[in-house]
Amino acid sequence: MEENLIKIENIRKTYTPGKEKIHALDGISLDIKKGEYIAIMGASGSGKSTLMNIIGCLDVATSGKYYLNKHNVESLNDNELATIRNKEIGFVFQTFNLLARSTALHNVELPLIYSKVSSSQRKERSIAALKKVGLGDRMMHKPNELSGGQKQRVAVARALINDPSIILADEPTGNLDSKTSIDIMNLFNELHEEGNTIIVVTHEPDIAEFAKRVIHLKDGKIEQDYLNGLVTK
């Protein structure tokens, strides 16, 4: 039996922006095993972004327990959270979030800078990562010289570079046309087949179809959690 990579127990997150409390997450429990490919779905306001932020260690829950790769995330301070994000999580964002002034290569190197990898090793590993996502010939290009799909490939290479426990993609195809979206999702499929754990947050059913397991959120609760019966194209 494989061990749980992520174990979430009865997590709640409440905001108090005005007079009333808002329960963004209202008691969520979730186990994710190593190598799973999951889509988290839900309408806006369903709590999927909040869940993603908590899984991504960008935010901590108001109550409940979260273990990521045996780390008890609830007990960590800001600096330790930063280290966890650096080592355990590879982010892919809807808006790519590349550094505009830096080359593709330097963008991919960035997480390695924060884990103090020597510059020669950094370069070596980043080149390998960019080749893997099919951008071996675009390494010295800056983001404004790349297409949307290429930018997202750079972001995927950056997410992979530190060999994280999970790849966390937030609407990764939200800013891409449908053809490019499929390209990117196929790239995620490849990564999944290589054994990476992938969590994609999306509101598009087409995109969710690529995942093996789908979790539907509604009003801060898990509405459905099922395995995708459909065979990926």
Partner: protein, 406 residues
Amino acid sequence: MYYIWESIKISLTIITENKLRSFLTLLGIMIGVTTIIFVHSVLVGAEKFIVQELSSLGSNTIYISKYSWGNNDWKKERKRKSLSIENADFIRNNSNLLEYVSPFISSLCHVKYGSKQLTYISLVGTTESYEYTSDSSPSSGRFFSSAEVDRGSNIVILGNQIADVMFGNIDPVGQYIKLNGRNFYIIGVLEKKGELFGSNMDEQVIVPITTLKKYFSYSLRGGVNISAKAKYPTRMNETMDNITSLLRVNRGLKPDEENDFSVNQISQILDFLNKITGGLQILLFVIGSLSLLVGGIGIMNIMLVSVTQRTKEIGTRKALGATKNLILIQFVIESVILCSFGGFAGIIAGFSVAALISSFTPLPYSISLVSMIIGVGFSTLVGIVFGFYPANKAAKLNPINALRYE
């Protein structure tokens, strides 16, 4: 160290990408540092210059004259009775704290040799000990003797430059030269002495004081000054008091009367000088600090803009594992680099302005390590102080909000 180097690289990219903005930002710092460097350089230069000039006079030399040094009571002192040769003799005969005492009269004359003529040359009439009280040793020939002073001989000692101009390669010693049309036998040429307070010490001729009285009687109007060399350099105050009391007796002053002469010493000028430069230094510090303050506010402003513009970048960096401290370091370094560019530019500009000014004034300028350290130090400090608030703001950004920022 690892992050600092990375942060420096990032900052350099950002600074060079926004060239105009960076330049305008560091202009304030640059002006502040320029002010400090320029004024400091000129002040140190001027001080060095004056001290150098004064050191040629010798520190144990005492000057007695109608006027006091470093005093502005000139109108009052003008009415004083001139000093006399007799005063000098009295001091010499009655003080056992003085090694040499020489009265001297300064005047002007025309010098002619063959067809070459120099007009309005500084003429000094004095006694044999002037060689020691004014550090005027001959480089060739000799100084005159007391017998020659007593006799009032027609002999002259030439300043180095006069000898050069009039005689070129020929040795002037043993030649005759005309002073105001009268023949004088040249017995010596002085060593090169340079300038003192703008007057060329190599462009003078020296004759016995008795000779001066005999042939250049117009010179007596200016009165006599006395230079004296103390026997014991460690007992200067005592020596000066001794001279004062002797002169009071000799000039018949009553106990309630003020001195009608001044006993001066080089250190008096130095004290006076230090007072002036000390005041100027404080003024400079205030002005420099004010412009650095203004420059610092400019830096803070632009750093705040930069943090806002790069909110999303900060969020991304945090998501990828940058800790608060790393973000803080990155922005402080950016501010420091911006400021030190301003500082370096200010150092160069400050020295350039100082060099420019010294090129058409006699004032030298001094490139001192101290002022460079001050310049770089202050601008770095400004960078840290004024960069800290924006950097801290960046460091404290919530990554979720920062990532969502458009």
